[in-house]
């Protein structure tokens, strides 16, 4: 038994080390990229009218005159302690900016993820039960359509439908979670739905084909020959086996949503990470941008790590050799 545990622990350790190496590489490449691009934070902060002497002074203040590797290590050290430097455009620390905007993005991600799981699983189960029948055809066609609509069209249509026609929500209004949590959730529902719809279509398509495959598998036939009903087979065999591969797809979907949605946040006028990124790019705010890139990398890598672990937990063939 101890051998099994050891190999499991080693599997997790190896994944963890891979995670750290990836993050280090991303941080190095981000830093290198911004060092190569002409112009630096000092000239951005002071604007086009500053004299060379002023810029030079600020450069010294910000430590931009030091050798690159020194700058890199001090930035890396700061990143580890949560200090990503000061935003050139906003004048506040980058970590604070990200922390301010995170609730919106995080809230939308959680709501969107719930929508993805709650809608795509049951529809995929129904579709896969009798592929080619009416229910499956309706779901599949809807899936294709939703997958093909660009997010901004979808957002506009949703706004038109909900606010103008039915007067259900006021678009453009945003309540902080600290003020009223329920109205915070309320104003995120519609944008989350707009973000979730194409992801639902994608997850549905994937789950449907996985479940059809599972339904036709030998072990499901064995379960049928044991006298299990369709529903029992779906819950005991089809779902757990589909989950093994669905975990990775859903983690991909989630990492995509967590990055913030440029378009949906813009349309609904929400202060999320997508809009922060947009501002950073427009104002050439290098500290903010490198901080954002590090954040996005962290999320992606962490989710992959989580997906790997969940897959290993779900599938004994990975866990126990």
């Amino acid at each position: 038994m101890r051998g099994k545990n050891n190999s499991t622990i080693r599997y997790f350790l190896v994944r963890l080390i891979e995670l750290l190496i990836t993050l280090l590489l991303v941080s190095f490449m981000t830093f290198a990229a911004f060092s190569i691009i002409p112009g630096d934070a000092a000239s951005v902060i002071l604007g086009p009218d500053a004299t060379p002497a002023q810029v030079e002074n600020l450069r010294q203040e910000l430590g931009l005159d030091k050798p690159l590797y020194v700058q890199y290590f001090s930035w890396l050290l700061g990143a580890f302690t949560g200090n990503l430097g000061k935003s050139a455009a906003f004048g506040v620390s980058v970590s604070e900016l990200i922390a301010q905007r995170l609730p919106v993005t995080l809230g939308m991600s959680v709501i969107a993820l719930i929508m993805v799981v709650v809608i795509s699983y049951p529809t995929a189960l129904i579709s896969a039960r009798r592929p080619g029948r009416l229910a499956d055809q309706i779901c599949s066609v809807l899936g294709h359509v939703l997958f093909a609509i660009p997010p901004f069209v979808l957002s506009l249509v949703m706004i038109l439908l909900t606010s103008s026609l039915f007067g259900l929500v006021t678009v453009g209004r945003y309540t902080k979670p600290s003020e009223n949590f329920f109205s915070f959730v309320g104003c995120l529902l519609l944008p989350s739905f707009c973000i979730a719809l194409p992801k639902i279509a994608m997850t549905f398509k994937f789950l449907r084909s996985t479940m059809i495959e599972q339904n036709a598998s030998d072990h499901v036939r064995t379960a049928k020959s044991h006298g299990l009903s369709d529903l029992m087979i779906e819950f005991r065999h089809v779902l757990p086996n589909s989950n093994v591969s669905a975990i990775t797809v859903i983690s991909l979907v989630l990492s995509d949503i967590l990055g913030g949605s440029l378009i949906v946040e813009q349309v609904f006028n929400l202060p999320g990470l997508g809009r922060l990124l947009l501002t950073g790019i427009a104002r050439r705010d290098f500290p903010l941008l490198s901080g954002m890139i590090l954040y996005l990398a962290l999320i992606t890598v962490l989710l992959y790590f989580l997906a790997d672990i969940l897959t290993a937990i779900a599938d004994p063939r990975i866990r126990i050799k």
Partner: protein, 516 residues
């Protein structure tokens, strides 16, 4: 009163609707009756409707299938008139079924115990301890020495034979009246086949389970069944006790079926080259170790192949025969030493379908082999050489512009052999070259290999699980077991009185299965 027939299929017609209103009839007025307690075999070519019969009885037919008429009486009750729910209640309880491929038939995410437990849960065994003890005792019933350990294993930790025994344990768990075995031994090697057949027979006798044994393996049927039905084109054409059917067939089709299945290498009078064992070997392997990743498949084996000899390599499946062949051909990394005279050996594999590129012609394959061997000269002499080789391997019709899917299995294997010969190797490695061919083509390829050995003096390493073929073709044989050599020696001695356990097991299995 108990009906004298446990299962009675009367006038069953079944088919599948195709596109544009077409309809393919699979079972045509099928009549089968199974007596309680008997071992009934059903044989027939693939596509004759054997498996559809099994699925019809168990109600596991594909959704598209339509039963147009007939009835299936089980214990006097018509299964086709039952509600789905009561039909399901019969499954696993009164009717069990085991299928061909044991490797994929268990849920890979569940431990063996949980895989089997669901049968008891569904059929109303509520007490958890009772379920466990029932499963443990059934696992020891199907000859597991350590049932508690097996209970906690995952399917991927078990061999194919072990998984098949677990599936049989599952099907027999609630002592059903009828157990349908659909090609249960087809994916197993000879030794394991005999184990499984012995197990089924004992279940039949001790638990009074009636067994419907569907197979195309005539030797398994011969030594296992009391009665045999011959199926062709969706209905039964012949039925009698096993001995009469297989030895004095009255029906023309049955006779043909037996004739096709019969591969008697001794009657082919194969003449092979004389081999001089004092000459220096064409291939020497010293302390060979081969593995995939960290898993060692073969550990420190020594192999010598002498010029002009046909060396047999046998052993049960999973013992490392194919791995050794791949290492010798340079297809796998290995540790140790391999010396081969005359460059890379030629290779012939089991499945000639996947070995040829489906999008290219025979000519392309031959040219490719010629180019790879470095013997290609000018166009005219290349074509001459290709032509000569094709004639040599028996493709006198020179199907240069045909694609692999336009050739028969035997013809494809001839092309593969031709591709070896064009490089003029001193050694050919042939890994189960006959096992995907029907008996007639297998005999032809067998003759061809003997001819090549005789006329070209090429040494051949022949891997086969068919001991008849080994006896007829190989003077010397190696028996492998668990990645190392158990025994090596002259075929005439080793396959008469083997000294190793693996050798004895192989011979014993063959004796039981083929009744020799």
């Amino acid at each position: 009163m108990r009906p004298s027939r446990l299962l009675e299929i009367k006038n069953l017609c079944l088919g599948f609707p195709g596109r544009k209103g077409t309809y393919t009839e699979v079972l045509k007025h099928l009549d089968i009756s199974v007596r309680p307690g008997e071992l009934l075999g059903i044989i027939g070519n693939s596509g004759s409707g054997k498996s559809m019969t099994a699925l019809a009885v168990t109600g596991l037919l594909p959704r598209e299938a339509i039963i147009t008429e007939g009835e299936i009486l089980f214990d006097g009750e018509d299964l086709l008139k039952m509600k789905p729910r009561s039909r399901r209640a019969l499954l696993g309880n009164d009717i069990g079924i085991v299928f061909q491929e044991p490797r994929t038939a268990l849920d890979p995410l569940m431990r063996v115990g949980r895989n089997l437990e669901e049968i008891l849960t569904v059929h109303g065994v509520k007490d958890k301890e009772e379920r466990r003890s029932k499963i443990i005792s059934m696992l020891s019933r199907v000859n597991f020495d350590d049932p508690e350990d097996i209970y906690d294993r995952f399917p991927h930790q078990l061999s194919g034979g072990q998984r098949q025994r677990i599936l049989i344990a599952g099907a027999a768990l609630l002592s059903p009246k009828l157990l349908i075995c659909d090609e249960v031994t087809s994916a197993l090697d000879t030794v394991t086949t005999v184990e499984v057949l012995d197990l089924l027979r004992s279940l039949c006798i001790e638990m009074k389970i009636t067994i419907l044994f569907i197979s195309h393996d005539l030797s398994a049927v011969e030594n296992f069944c009391d009665r045999v039905m011959v199926m062709n084109d969706g209905h039964i054409i012949d039925c009698d006790n096993t001995y009469d059917i297989l030895h004095t067939p009255r029906n023309e089709f049955t006779a043909q079926l037996l004739e096709n299945a019969k591969l008697n290498p001794h009657s082919l009078n194969l003449v092979t080259a004389d081999c001089d064992y004092s000459a220096s070997p064409v291939m020497t392997g010293r302390s060979l170790s081969v593995g995939y990743g960290k898993k060692t498949i073969i550990s420190s084996m020594d192999v010598d192949i002498f010029p002009r000899e046909i060396l047999g390599l046998i052993g049960c499946s999973g013992c490392g025969k194919t791995t050794l062949a791949k290492a010798i051909c340079g297809l796998l990394p290995y540790q140790g030493e391999i010396n081969i005279k005359g460059g890379r050996p030629g290779t012939v594999f089991q499945d000639p379908v996947s070995c040829l590129n489906p999008s290219h012609t025979v000519l392309w394959h031959m040219k490719e082999a010629l180019r790879a061997s470095g013997r290609s000269k000018d166009k005219a002499s290349d074509m001459e050489l290709i032509d000569k080789v094709l004639v040599e391997v028996g493709l006198e019709s020179r199907p240069l512009n045909r694609y692999p899917n336009e050739l028969s299995g035997g013809q494809r294997q001839r092309v593969a052999i031709g591709m070896c010969l064009i490089a003029e190797p001193e050694l050919i490695v042939a890994d189960e070259p006959f096992s995907s061919l029907d008996a007639t083509s297998a005999a032809e390829i067998l003759k061809l290999l003997a001819k090549i050995n005789r006329e070209r003096g090429v040494a051949i390493l022949l891997i086969s699980h068919n001991l008849h073929i080994i006896r007829a073709l190989c003077k010397r044989v190696i028996i492998m077991n668990r990645g190392s050599e158990s025994e090596t020696g002259m075929t005439s001695e080793i396959l008469k009185s083997p000294s190793s356990i693996a050798g004895k097991a192989l011979l014993e299995a063959e004796r039981k299965l083929h009744g020799m």
